[in-house]
Amino acid sequence: MSVIGQIGQWFDRRLQLAAPIREAAEHPVPRNTASWFYVFGSAALTVFLLQLVTGILLALIYVPSANEAWSSLQALNHDVTLGWFIRAMHGWGSNFMVAIVLIHMVQVFLFGAYKFPRELTWIIGVFLLLMTLGMAFSGQVLRFDQDAYWGLGIGASIASRVPIAGPMIVKLMLGGPIIAGATLSRFFALHVFAIPGMLIGLVCLHVLMVLKLGINEWPMPGRLVKRATYENEYHQLTRKDGAPFVPYAVWKDLFFAAFILLAVAACALYFGPFGPTGRPDPTVIQTAPKPDYFFLWLYGLLSYLPPSMETPALLIGPVVVIAFLVLLPFLSGEGEKSWRRRPIAVLTVLLIAIILGTLTHLAGFTPWSPHMNAWSGDPVPQRFLHGATALQRKGALVFQAKQCRNCHSLGELGGQRGPALDSVAVRLTQDQLIRQVIQGGGNMPAYGKNLSPAETTALVAFLETLHPAGQAPAREAARDIVLRDSGTRP
């Protein structure tokens, strides 16, 4: 026997791991599960390992102190050889991990893999998803910049709305009365020790259960899951039409894992690391904080919810969603597995995907946020002033000077918080314009106290010119009659 073989035997005699590892590797899986649809679980595990490795590498340099974190990130970006690359890998790795975990979850849901006897595997998976999101949020905090600072403020504002316990939760979360050094330290502890520790434990359990219970077979329409017979049927399937996991199915996992790692590296190389943005200095208020990619949908949702629904939605919504996910295998633990015969399941996935996708897309350009610099940065396009009277030009100046432009666009430039005003004169009569400007309403502040009568007259004179060339402005029919009858107009 070779020397290496002897050394191997020496170790195995003491470890006694070779037999169970071989058994796990060669356990039979249904042939049709050797599919490209079944690679997302192992891909998630691969990215998780990548995050562990790059995370440890970053911790060699990173300083979890409110005073030094930002500078240590700058050092990683600019001074430490390839520090930027490791940061970029870790940042892109987190984006990929959230995405792959979600895809894995959708696949498992559509293939009915959460049904008997794999209910607990699914429930652990739900907690793994929550922890992945927890890692994503706490990781964003560790990138201790302006976005992280104000993102924590948003988190605190949401947490503070919990009835009675809210203020206590905020202090517990921040580690003190304000966002400061203790806040960063505790998010560091969460991100580096607490959540990864739980993640490693639950991932091991999750994988162990997949090995023990067997991978979910490819769902066939009409082949129903019954508690009494399923396990027998599954064993017969693997005996009759099974193949050893290694190498029959594993090669696809290996290919996809390598491909994902390559994709993360390519993104890291091409796009580089995320931030850090400005210093976490709360006195610098010229900032428009934005969450990381995977929380953009929430950012969008929070601006579209009516104020009265916001607190209930924020506090009850997550509880309902998590409860539903955890209870799902008990609500439909048996029956049809194939997505071909589960239209509601497919539609639910599509609906959620469309909602999340739309909100994320909208959060890319935030139509709900005022453009803080539009009033001084975006001039009124020339065509709106062509042939304008002195009064109308003065009105255009008032329009800019009073920051109307921050919320209203002209010529597609300016804020989108309020409606575009390119053709407002077609929609509103003179009287309606005056009333709207002075009293506000419909989500517009009242400007009555900040406009002199002369300014209002000028502003409305300008707004009345805003209509397409061939289209007459709106006017009140009764007004002409009243003016004619009173003799002021022929």
């Binding site: 809210g166 206590m168 921040l174 009365p177 976490p280 006195t283 005022p370």
Partner: protein, 208 residues
């Protein structure tokens, strides 16, 4: 064990051992929980709040709203810049002030003051507030948070020390006056202000 009702000597020891561990764990849970919750318990009874100075009254022109900064009274050695806090100081006239937190009452983003339109605007979800801090539009459910202030020896001081959030008791104990009443009060004060003159001057500047 032939008789199931009888506990063996070893079995009894094991149970006592488990009980002993349980007692020790309970005893240790106290200091651990006290430590974990220290940031909460320390703040009981406004423990974090103190009066801090924003500067001389004369630094704040009458009728204007200015950004002021102060150092949070509760500081840890590793806090760095994060204890520097900003607030909006509105001097209504004389010793009458309003001091607003920069944090939007919606989700805490920093609001910016626009003197020309007399509005605070939030860059996040588009909350807007009037000059007196009352809600103008957008998702916030209430007006801006206000710090209690007093004028002493010519200095403006405010009671601060906690991050104002929609649920914090300090946020609800003040700055929550009915917006209509508050705004009516201020109409008379506002009419004294030279806002429209200011704008006219600005418009003239832009015209030239």
């Amino acid at each position: 064990m032939s008789n199931e009702n009888l506990i063996s000597r070893r079995g009894l020891f094991m149970k006592i051992g488990m009980l002993f561990n349980g007692l020790v764990a309970t005893a240790l849970a106290f200091p651990i929980m006290r430590f974990l919750l220290s940031s909460v318990t320390r703040g009981h009874g406004n423990g974090y709040l103190s009066w801090v100075s924003l500067g001389r009254v004369s630094e704040f022109p009458e009728g204007e709203t200015r950004l002021a900064t102060f150092r949070n009274p509760y500081v840890m050695p590793t806090d760095g810049q994060t204890v520097d806090t900003a607030c909006w100081v509105r001097r209504i006239g004389g010793d009458q002030f309003q001091v607003f937190a920069v944090n939007c009452a919606h989700l805490g983003c920093p609001v910016r003051w626009f003197p020309q339109s007399g509005l605070f605007m939030c860059p996040c979800h588009g909350g807007a507030y009037y000059r007196d801090g009352s809600r103008a539009s957008g998702p916030p459910e209430r007006g801006l948070f206000e710090y209690p202030y007093k004028v002493q020896d010519g200095m403006v001081t405010i009671q601060a020390g906690e991050l104002p959030t929609p649920g914090s008791p300090t946020a609800s104990s003040f700055g929550n006056k009915p917006p209509c009443a508050a705004r009516n009060d201020l109409v008379s004060i506002d009419s004294k202000l030279s806002t429209s003159n200011e704008t006219n001057a600005l418009v003239r500047r832009m015209q030239t």
